[in-house]
Amino acid sequence: MLKVSNLAVGYQKNAIVRDISFELQPNELCAVVGVNGIGKSTLLRTLGRLQPKINGTIYLDKTNLSTIKNLDLAKLQSMVLTEPIATKNLTVFEIIALGRQPYTNWLGALNTTDKKIIETCLQSFSLHSLKQKKCFELSDGQLQRVLIARAVVQDTPLILLDEPTTHLDISHKVEILMLLKTLAKSNNKTLLFTTHEVDLAIQLCDKILILDGKTNPFGEPCKLIENGCFDKLFPTDLIRFDANSGTFKIKQ
């Protein structure tokens, strides 16, 4: 579905992280982990073509990313970003409905198919009761669900999410991650998300990409644990990785 080789990402020719290579199959849920500032969001923005890559190749569905037209790309991948929605006055329905834009006519009018897709999505995300709520009335957890729902109605095989669990309490974190898992397994989607919840990612994800600025290991969580890839993830003496439980412990 997504094949990345020797990718370097950064700003204005300065790569912050290079030599990223990985490949995602359909139905896979993959997390990108790494310390703050290593370039997780930059990688995601580059994959979403919101900023130019520095080097390397990205293949989406066997096509070179840079040759795909804007509108076609919008039908292949959707995004959930960390930036706040610009207009706080949008209702839940309006935000989600905007996900249908790549398919609507020149005025952006919704036809019956669009409405049906939105309706189904509202049901399955249990957002129906919030339909007419304004964006500023939502809790962080609800808003995140709405943003993911928006990406889902965009009906793309690949969804990129930037830190979808930030600002949420542990139960909502798990709720969102389980939602992503369900999307990958039952809705036939490939999902790539950045996160700081390494232990949750280890438990849930099919693949993990560790950005460490050197070898950037990628693979199944248990393989990565076996190879000791998480031990050096955080360059600090304060915590250590416990391979048995797959979590980080405070050194005492």
Partner: protein, 339 residues
């Protein structure tokens, strides 16, 4: 479904109000013409006094049509600016577009006497003012690409206003009384000085601007989420931005050129419309904003005309007198402006 019907009701209300304001505007003026006669003249009755029918058809009707175009067009350009910059305080005035038009007009009207040699004709004022507003708009866009912070952008817009005012006063200092007077009258704003030929030209430009706005509806809606989201939805950011700027420049530029800089309509009307229609969808908001702007302008012009007296107040003063308190009231009541 209840939602959609309530929009139909809102539109019906707006349409009724605009017709009422239109007729009211036509029936009031310096010469008292009974309401029944106004209606009769409008319906093509030729038995009414000829001078009265001349006043209605050639003066008041032209003025009312201009007011509709000016009010509606400025309101739409305000809406476009607010969405493009995702800032509730954006509008043709705040961002310096009107100042740009003033500069263009000043260079033509005042500069002609200073520099000499520039011919003053019917459409040259329009061209100069439009060019001025386009210039400022483009500069604002370039700056907007560099500074993402919208607060900074607004301050920059205000600075453009100061620069323009300074250049205008330098020009005014050196120009002769006659052209200075012409410029000052232009800057008071007026919807009553246009001939039918000029109105047709304004109509054509406003329609062009509105058509461009309609073609921008989809990208405007996407911009509500933010630029990155818009891009991920397949919107070509650059193209849409330029289209929106072109539409705003055409609307605000040509209107300011013909009717002078008219304050507050562009800023206030989108907010007033949001009180009536809660949707953010531009295909609903845009026509509503146009009609609302037209209503407001017709009413302001009716007031400016001071019924049954020969005095005409500058329309710019009226829109500010009514516009500013409305914006303050909105801010105080809602504590913050959402858009």
């Amino acid at each position: 479904m209840r939602k959609e019907r309530s929009y139909k009701f809102s539109f019906l209300l707006l349409l009724v109000l605009v017709i009422a304001a239109f007729v009211l505007n036509l029936s009031l003026g310096s010469v008292a013409i009974p309401f029944s006669e106004t209606i009769a003249i409008l319906l093509g009755d030729t038995t009414v006094d000829e001078s009265k029918s001349y006043i209605i058809l050639n003066y008041r009707l032209a003025k009312a049509v201009t007011a509709i175009l000016v009010g509606g067009g400025l309101a739409v350009s305000g809406l476009l600016m607010q969405t493009l910059f995702r800032n509730p305080l954006a509008g043709p005035f705040v961002l310096g577009i009107s100042s740009g038009a003033s500069l263009g007009a000043a260079l033509l009207l005042l500069g002609a006497s200073v520099l000499g040699g520039i011919l003053y004709f019917d459409t040259s004022l329009v061209i100069a003012a439009s060019l001025g507003s386009f210039l400022v708009l483009l500069v604002v866009m370039v700056v907007a690409n560099k500074v993402r912070d919208t607060m900074t952008l607004l301050i920059i817009g205000l600075m453009f206003g100061s620069i323009t005012a300074a250049i205008v006063s330098v020009l005014a200092y050196f120009s002769d009384a006659e052209s200075l007077q012409r410029f000052i009258f232009w800057s008071y704003g007026s919807v009553s000085s246009l001939s039918w030929k000029q109105i047709l030209l304004l109509l054509a430009i406003v329609i062009l601007g509105l058509v461009l706005s309609l073609f921008s509806v989809k990208s405007l809606n996407a911009f509500l989420l933010g630029e990155n989201y818009a891009e991920s939805l397949g919107v070509s950011i650059k193209k849409s931005k330029y289209l929106i700027i072109l539409a705003t420049g055409l609307l605000a530029g040509s209107i300011t050129a013909f009717a002078g800089p008219i304050a507050f309509v562009g800023l206030a009307v989108p907010h007033l419309t949001r009180q009536l229609i809660s949707s953010t969808n531009h295909s609903i908001v845009l026509p509503a904003v146009f009609i609302y702007g037209a209503i407001l302008m017709l009413l302001c012009d009716t007031i400016a005309q001071l019924p049954n007296s020969a005095t005409v107040l500058p329309i710019n003063a009226i829109t500010s007198l009514f516009g500013a308190p409305i914006v303050i009231w909105l801010l105080v009541r809602k504590r913050k402006i959402l858009f």
